[in-house]
C-alpha cells in the first residue's frame, strides 16, 4: 500500500512552528535547574526530528539531531546551562525555522549560516563530551549464502514483553525455507508448569541467500532476552536434531531448566539519568483543536444566513403589527426574540472557534526585545499582560508585522540608553509593556514605554520641513494632532535611518495596515515620561457594525468605525472652490465633500447639500464629508465578498444582505477618499483656507 504522507505535512509544519516558538520562549527564560523547561524544549526538538524524516524534511531532521543531543545532555545533567549554550540553541531554533519555511515555500536557505551554526553545535558536542555512543551495528559476518543455523533459547519471561516466539519463527519463514526443531529440555512437570513462562527453545535451520542483518532484525527485539547463536550453514551440514518433539514426557525432568538464568540482563537494569519525574506539564495546554479554516468559514457563512433569516423574520413581524390578532403577534414577537438570542449566541460561539489568544502574536517579543536591546545598548524590561485576550486568527496574522514595527520603534526611538535615563533621574532599565484587553466588540492592544516620549518641537520641525504643515499651523496645533503627524506618509523622526526601524516602512504603512483591518491606532505621549500607542481592532473580519445610509433608491453601509459624526450642512459653511470642488468648514477644519450619488453614479433625492446629510468620516488619516440623502438604522452586518463571483469594486469593501433579502454594498472609506483624488482635494482645502482668510 502506498500512503501519501504529504497530507500530514501542513500539520507537521504547524506543530513544528509551535514547537519552535515554545523552544524559543522557554530558552529565553531558562533557569539552570528548571528540569521541566529543559524537558519541554527537548520534547519540541525531539518531535520535530521525529517528524522531519517521516514527512520529507530530511535536512531539518539531520540538523535537529545535534540540537536534540545537546538538549538530551542538558536534561540528563551532563551539560550545564550557560548563556553561550542558550544563545547557540536560539540560533539553532532560527535555523530550524528558516529551513522549514524554506522547504515549505520552496526557497533557498542561507546555507552558510546554517552550516556555521551546525558546526558550532558539533564543536560543542565534541568538546567535553564523553565518547559518542558506540553505534550498535551488528558485526557483519558474511555467511556463504547457503543459510543460517540458529539456536534460539528465549528467557522464560520473554512473553511478558509481548514477544511471541512463534511470531519470530513465522518471520524467519518469510526469509527462506525453515526447518525447526523444538527443544523441550527445560519443560518441567505439568504441575510445576507456569503457562506464562516460555520454556521451549529452538534449533532453526534457515536455508536461502539471507543476509545476516535480516536475521538479526528478526531477533532485534529479543536479543537481550535470549540465548542466541547464529552461525552460517556449512555446505554439507546436516540438520542435527537435538531433541525430538515427541519426546515430551521423558524430558520433563523437574527443576533443571526451570530456573531462569537470572544474569545477562545488564541491559535491563541500567537506568539512564534518573527516573522521569512525571506530572508538571509546563506546556500551555489550551485544549486546542486544529481545524481547517475552510470548514470554519463555511460554518460562519451558514450562521450568517441564519442571521439574515432572523432579521427577515423580524421585519415580517414588524409588518404584521398592522394586522393579525394581538395574541398571535405577541407570540411571534416572543419567538423572534428567542430566535434572535439563539442566533446571536450561535454566531458568537462559531466566531470563537477562529479566535486565538493574542499570546500567539506576543510570543515573539521577548526574543525580539532581548536581541534588539542588546544591539542598541539599551536595558529593557518587557512585560506583557492580557495575553489570553482572544481575537480572530486572520486579524492576528495581519497585526503581527505592524506590532513588530511599533515595538521596534519604541525600542529604537522611545526608550533611552542607560546613561541618558540615569541623567534624567529614571532607572537605567527602561520598561516596555504590551497589554491587551477587550472593549465592546473590539480588542485593544497597547504598547506603553517609559522612554523619552514624543518631542513636540522635533516633530513639528520635521513636519514643516516635509511640507506637511505650515509654520502657522504648527504653533496652534494641539498635542494629539502633533502625535498624529507621525502617521502621515513620508514622516520619520529618526535622525538617521537605523537598521532597526528604518526598514523603509513608515508609520503611515502601519496605520494603513491597521485601518485595512477596520481598526485604528493613536499615540499619546508625555515628553520625558513615555508614550502609549493604542490599537483598536475588530475581533473578527466576518462581521462589522454598520450605519445604513440611503442615496435615492440605493442603500449603502458605512462602517461605524469610520464615522466621526453626522450633520446637516449649514449653507454658510459650504464653499465651492475653483468652480467645482466643494469643501465644508467644520469648526476649524476643512473637509472635502464627497457626493456619493456622483461618485457611485446613482440618482439621489436631491443635489442640494443642505437638504441631505453630511456624514463626517475618517480613513487613512484623512477626513471627508460624505453626502447622502438619509441615515437609516445601524446594524451588525455579515460581510460578503463581491469577488466570489465578480470582482473587487472600487470604493467598496464588500457587500451584505439586508433583512429584506436585498444586497447592500459596504463602503471602503479610505478607498472612497483615495478615489476622490486626495492631492487635488488637499490643494482645494488649502485654497479654501486662503480664500476664507482673505
Amino acid at each position: 500500500m502506498s500512503i501519501d504522507v504529504s497530507q500530514f505535512v501542513q500539520t507537521f509544519l504547524d506543530e513544528s512552528f509551535e514547537g519552535l516558538d515554545a523552544m524559543e520562549s522557554q530558552l529565553l527564560e531558562l533557569q539552570a535547574d528548571d528540569v521541566e523547561a529543559i524537558n519541554t524544549i527537548f520534547r519540541a526538538a525531539h518531535s520535530i526530528k521525529g517528524g522531519a524524516g517521516t514527512f520529507g524534511f530530511g535536512p531539518v531532521g539531520e540538523f535537529t539531531h545535534g540540537v536534540e543531543t545537546l538538549l538530551d545532555e542538558m536534561r540528563g545533567g551532563r551539560r550545564a546551562v550557560s548563556p553561550e549554550l542558550v544563545k547557540l540553541l536560539l540560533e539553532a531554533v532560527d535555523c530550524m525555522r528558516e529551513m522549514l519555511v524554506a522547504a515549505r515555500d520552496g526557497v533557498e536557505v542561507d546555507a552558510q549560516r546554517i552550516a556555521t551554526v551546525r558546526s558550532a553545535i558539533d564543536a560543542s558536542l565534541n568538546e567535553e563530551n564523553t565518547a559518542p555512543m558506540p553505534e550498535q551495528t551488528a558485526v557483519s559476518t558474511g555467511g556463504n549464502g547457503a543459510g543460517w543455523h540458529i539456536r534460539f533459547a528465549p528467557e522464560p519471561d520473554v512473553m511478558r514483553t509481548g514477544n511471541d516466539p512463534l511470531r519470530i519463527l513465522a518471520a524467519l519463514e518469510e526469509l527462506g525455507s525453515v526447518q525447526v526443531t523444538c527443544d523441550l529440555a527445560r519443560l518441567p512437570s505439568l504441575e510445576e508448569l507456569d503457562p506464562e513462562d516460555c520454556l521451549l527453545s529452538w534449533d532453526i535451520r534457515l536455508e536461502g541467500p539471507v543476509g545476516r542483518e535480516a536475521v538479526n532484525e528478526v531477533f532485534e527485539w529479543v536479543e537481550d532476552q535470549c540465548e542466541l547463536r547464529i552461525e552460517p550453514l556449512s555446505g554439507g551440514e546436516v540438520a542435527a536434531p537435538v531433541q525430538s518433539s515427541t519426546a515430551v514426557a521423558q524430558h520433563a525432568s523437574a527443576g533443571s531448566g526451570v530456573n531462569p538464568p537470572a544474569q545477562t540482563r545488564s541491559g535491563f537494569d541500567r537506568r539512564s539519568g534518573g527516573d522521569r519525574r512525571g506530572a508538571g506539564d509546563r506546556r500551555a495546554d489550551t485544549g486546542s483543536i486544529r481545524v481547517n479554516t475552510d470548514k470554519i468559514d463555511a460554518l460562519i457563512n451558514m450562521v450568517g444566513e441564519l442571521v439574515i433569516t432572523q432579521s427577515m423574520l423580524g421585519q415580517i413581524g414588524n409588518e404584521l403589527v398592522q394586522g393579525g390578532s394581538q395574541v398571535q403577534l405577541e407570540k411571534l414577537r416572543d419567538g423572534l426574540t428567542s430566535l434572535e438570542r439563539n442566533t446571536r449566541e450561535l454566531q458568537e460561539s462559531v466566531m470563537r472557534i477562529r479566535m486565538l489568544p493574542i499570546s500567539f502574536a506576543f510570543n515573539r517579543f521577548p526574543r525580539l526585545v532581548h536581541d534588539l536591546s542588546a544591539q542598541l545598548g539599551k536595558q529593557v524590561e518587557l512585560s506583557m499582560s492580557g495575553e489570553n485576550t482572544e481575537l480572530d486568527k486572520t486579524v492576528m496574522e495581519k497585526i503581527g508585522d505592524p506590532l513588530v514595527h511599533l515595538v521596534r520603534n519604541a525600542l529604537d526611538h522611545g526608550l533611552e540608553v542607560p546613561e541618558v535615563r540615569l541623567a534624567a533621574g529614571k532607572p537605567a532599565t527602561g520598561h516596555l509593556l504590551l497589554n491587551a484587553y477587550h472593549q465592546g466588540g473590539n480588542i485593544v492592544i497597547e504598547i506603553i514605554d517609559d522612554g523619552a516620549g514624543i518631542n513636540r518641537e522635533k516633530v513639528l520641525k520635521k513636519a514643516i520641513e516635509r511640507g506637511l504643515i505650515s509654520e502657522a499651523d504648527a504653533a496652534a496645533m494641539p498635542d494629539e494632532r502633533v502625535c498624529d503627524l507621525i502617521f502621515q506618509p513620508g514622516f520619520s523622526t529618526a535622525e538617521t535611518v537605523s537598521d532597526v526601524s528604518g526598514r523603509g516602512v513608515g508609520m503611515d504603512v502601519v496605520r494603513r495596515n491597521i485601518q485595512d483591518l477596520g481598526g485604528s491606532v493613536e499615540i499619546t505621549s508625555r515628553q520625558g515620561q513615555g508614550s502609549r500607542i493604542t490599537i483598536r481592532l475588530p475581533l473578527t473580519l466576518a462581521i462589522l457594525d454598520g450605519q445604513l445610509v440611503r442615496v435615492g433608491e440605493q442603500i449603502y453601509i458605512i462602517p461605524l468605525v469610520s464615522i466621526i459624526e453626522s450633520l446637516q450642512a449649514m449653507p454658510e459653511s459650504l464653499n465651492v472652490v475653483a468652480g467645482m470642488a466643494e469643501v465644508y468648514r467644520l469648526r476649524d477644519e476643512y473637509l472635502s465633500v464627497i457626493r456619493l450619488h456622483r461618485v457611485f453614479g446613482v440618482r439621489g433625492d436631491t443635489e442640494d447639500l443642505t437638504k441631505g446629510l453630511l456624514v463626517v468620516v475618517e480613513g487613512d488619516g484623512q477626513r471627508a464629508a460624505v453626502f447622502v440623502d438619509e441615515l437609516l438604522g445601524q446594524q451588525q452586518v455579515v460581510i460578503k465578498s463581491l469577488e466570489t463571483n465578480f470582482r473587487r469594486v472600487e470604493g467598496t469593501s464588500g457587500a451584505t444582505i439586508l433583512g429584506d433579502g436585498s444586497v447592500a454594498l459596504i463602503m471602503d472609506i479610505p478607498g472612497l477618499i483615495r478615489m476622490t483624488n486626495p492631492p487635488a482635494q488637499d490643494a482645494v482645502r488649502k485654497r479654501a483656507q486662503i480664500e476664507e482668510a482673505v
Binding site: 457563512n301 450568517g304 444566513e305 439574515i308 440605493q554 461618485v599 457611485f600 453614479g601 446613482v602 460578503k640 465578498s641 463581491l642 466570489t644 463571483n645 465578480f646 470582482r647 469594486v649 472600487e650 470604493g651 467598496t652 457587500a655 444582505i657 433579502g661 436585498s662 444586497v663 447592500a664 454594498l665
Partner: protein, 175 residues
C-alpha cells in the same frame, strides 16, 4: 423548468448510448427575435427578474448584484451586452443563472433574457463553425451555430462572454 431539464437529461443519456457521436444539450432562449443557446450543464437555475443592487461605475449592461440564497451574484442584461434595443422588464422577464469557469474557479453569473424557449440536442455535426461576418453579437462569444426549423441558434461561449475582467475593462473604457 427543472422538470423539463431532468427529462431531457435522461433522454440525452439514452441518445448518448444509442449513437456514437457525443450529443450536447443546449438551453435555448430568445433575445429580440433571435435564438441563443448555452450548454445546459452550465445552467444552475432559471428564475424571474427581481430588482438588483447597482454596482457603482459598472457598464450599463451589468444590471447589478442579486442575493441568491446568500450568494451575491452579478446580473448581466444580455440585450444591452449585445447592444440590442433594451426593453422594460416585466414579470415574465427571465434570469438564467449560469456557472462559468474563470481563473480555475467556478463563478456564478446571471443573464437577463427575453424568454427561455427549449432544451435542444445538437450533435457536433449539427453545429457549424462561427461565421466571421457581422452578426449583432461579437463573434468572440459564439462557439458555433446550429439550425433549428430553419431558424438559427447561436451557441454562446459563456466563459468568454462573462469574464469579470472583461466587465471591468469595459467599465474603464466607458468612463
Amino acid at each position: 423548468m427543472t422538470q423539463v431539464i431532468k427529462q431531457e437529461q435522461s433522454l440525452r443519456e439514452t441518445a448518448g448510448k444509442a449513437g456514437d457521436s457525443q450529443v450536447n444539450q443546449y438551453l435555448t432562449f430568445s433575445l429580440a427575435d433571435e435564438y441563443y443557446g448555452v450548454d445546459i450543464l452550465r445552467v444552475q437555475e432559471i428564475k424571474g427578474w427581481t430588482p438588483v443592487t447597482q454596482i457603482p461605475n459598472a457598464p450599463a449592461y451589468l444590471k447589478g448584484v442579486l442575493n441568491l440564497r446568500g450568494v451575491i451574484v452579478p446580473i448581466v442584461d444580455l440585450r444591452m451586452r449585445f447592444n440590442l434595443e433594451s426593453v422594460e422588464y416585466t414579470p415574465t422577464t427571465v434570469v438564467i443563472v449560469l456557472s462559468l469557469m474563470h481563473e480555475d474557479r467556478e463563478r456564478t453569473f446571471g443573464i437577463v433574457v427575453d424568454a427561455v424557449s427549449d432544451v435542444l440536442n445538437f450533435a457536433p455535426e449539427d453545429i457549424r463553425p462561427k461565421p466571421d461576418f457581422g452578426t449583432v453579437v461579437d463573434a468572440d462569444f459564439i462557439s458555433g451555430l446550429a439550425t433549428l426549423d430553419k431558424s438559427m441558434v447561436m451557441l454562446l461561449d459563456i466563459d468568454r462572454l462573462l469574464r469579470p475582467e472583461e466587465l471591468s475593462a469595459i467599465s474603464r473604457a466607458t468612463e
